[in-house]
Symmetry: C2
Subunit: 356 residues, 2 copies
């Protein structure tokens, strides 16, 4: 490499503009930048392109995932208590490990902090980080800390383990497999709408206290999500290994399309089957939002979306908190959402783009 | 946890101020935040407190380290070509893995980008990242990409492997062990001084071209460091396993004090033995800086600092590019720097504080 001092930045400025990056979107950008990566590492089972990477380490597999939370993009400190933020920053990574049917073991944390943060504030953030570690039996094993010129950046890497044959990828679904989701969808997005409204009220009159009565559940889903370790354990106890799985961070549509693409299948899901909590319905009505759209595109629910063979239907129906919402089809070009009125619509990923 | 919406940020603001954080420094802050972490994980061999974490995976060990580079804190895009920056962001992590006498295998990358970055610019950054991966036989296996409100943040996690008995910690040095360094010290710091000077000239008159003739080596040491895989391999070929080791990212003083603290020993090093490159001496003269101070406190050299038993002296002296600069002592309270005039000074860590 030649050292082109003082030129690079200005040269880069003349190049194609950021608009293209946001148009590519996060997945498009990653595809673009990594399309030429070819591995000849025999121990690397899965590189980029699933919830986590997977590589062989002795007779087990190690899984690695990383997530970045940026102030002003992923969270707003006006309504995100720092303890909750620390907790959430950890569990969104653990959720990716569980989505591989694996067990999270370790995390590392890198923080960049602007000068507005006090030691108290960082202690609060860490108390949430360590609580999440305790609740999910994970060890904090390293990190890096720096100042930033503005804002808070939290980068967490989670490391998990699993036996090779236990791991569930996005790619294993078969035609006629049942599509299942845990819990309910849209709550985190609707909780965010409520917090955004209260923020506006507060900013216009700082003596106002937030009105969240009756909506505690959806606010908690936004601020302090829990990954579904319980679902992974329940499925294991029922001897059910999903054929494909992903966690719902960007919205049901986006995640289901990942399963379809990676399994080279189509799907058909039914609006009437999508689980939505009563508080989500009430909040959607209040905000005049469509409940199903919130469930399809809202994101941040950290529920599990997975497929199981058709013959597991009876067994799955016995498990509380799992809903069968449709099935996979061999027609890989057809991804259908069947509305309550019977009309079939094409599923589109309108999930959140962190580059916009 | 209770949800104290809208209160947290303002409460935190009333707390202790950032001044305390910068006074604690990076290591003090980490100690403070993690002092109560206790692990009962039998596979975790080393958590926080060495160049990397180490845990058992089957019959080998996996090592993990993470580093964060922040625009305006760790790098300045006026003189850091993006390809070099991507390269450096990777190799500083690999350097930590080599410093454990281990082999880096995988990296993950999280990027936060402000809107000033074009697709071309990101491609440049990635070309450096991928070149480093190629040169050191490492696979990029995952990451996360986001926008930022301002600046560029690069968080990289590197994963390595080693046999348990091959790993070298900071804690294994014994009294009378020889203290060795690879390559030469202070060059990266002096390269930075030169780039900073040229930046000022450029900002006052943008038609000016940088004057770097004769200083290409120290500029390259700053912008495109190389981790010392070759030294690790050479030591292995000579059947020498260091008793303790660390990479020099924060300056010789700071790193040597880490070895002393972790091995519970003192040390005595000799100014006349510290290796400094001719260009570094010339640059130090030009800037009226003390060459030895640049070597002791400059940082970013990414050389290896290690100890070997006294009986390896002859063998070590045969290896080019390794200098014996002193020895460890049993007097753990005495860390001495013996100046060329024979005066003994106390070694102090004046390495760089990323929180200042």
């Amino acid at each position: 490499m030649q050292v082109n001092i003082l030129h690079t930045f200005f040269m880069a400025e003349k190049g194609k503009k950021i608009k293209e990056i946001s148009e590519l979107g996060e997945f498009g950008l990653i595809d673009h930048l990594t399309k030429n990566i070819k591995s000849d590492d025999k121990n690397l089972i899965k590189g980029i392109g699933d919830d986590t990477a997977v590589f062989k380490t002795g007779n087990t597999c190690t899984l690695v995932t990383t997530d970045l939370l940026v102030e002003g993009i992923h969270f707003n400190l006006i309504y995100s208590p720092l303890k909750h933020l620390g907790y959430k920053a950890v569990v969104v990574n653990l959720s990716d490990i569980y989505a591989m049917n694996a067990t999270p073991k370790y995390i590392t944390i890198s923080l960049a902090l602007s000068s507005k943060f006090s030691l108290n504030a960082i202690e609060e953030l860490y108390s949430g980080i360590l609580l999440a570690c305790k609740n999910y039996n994970v060890e904090l094993i390293g990190g890096d800390t720096s100042s930033s010129l503005s804002g808070l950046f939290i980068s967490i890497t989670a490391i998990g383990e699993a036996k090779k044959n236990d791991i569930v990828y996005r790619s294993g679904a078969k035609p006629n497999d049942l599509i299942c989701v845990s819990g309910n969808l849209g709550a985190a997005y609707l909780g965010l709408q409520l917090l955004e409204r209260e923020k506006e009220v507060f900013l216009s009159d700082t003596s106002m206290q937030p009105q969240l009565d009756g909506f505690e559940y959806i606010v908690e889903r936004q601020l302090k999500p829990e990954p579904r370790r319980d679902i992974i354990e329940t499925l294991r106890n029922h001897n059910i290994k999903p054929t494909s799985m992903i966690d719902i961070s960007d919205g049901l549509s986006s995640e289901l399309l990942h399963l379809c693409k990676n399994s080279d299948l189509g799907c058909r899901i039914f609006e009437e089957k999508i689980p939505v909590a009563p508080q989500s319905i009430a909040a959607a009505e209040m905000f005049r939002l469509d409940t199903s759209l919130a469930a399809l595109n809202g994101g941040e629910d950290y529920e599990l979306l997975f497929t199981v063979p058709l013959d597991k239907k009876e067994e799955i129906e016995k498990i509380p908190d799992i809903s069968i919402i449709g099935y996979m089809t061999s027609a890989s070009e057809e991804k259908f959402f069947v509305a309550k009125n019977g009309i079939e619509l094409e599923l589109k990923a309108q999930g959140w783009n962190p580059l916009k």
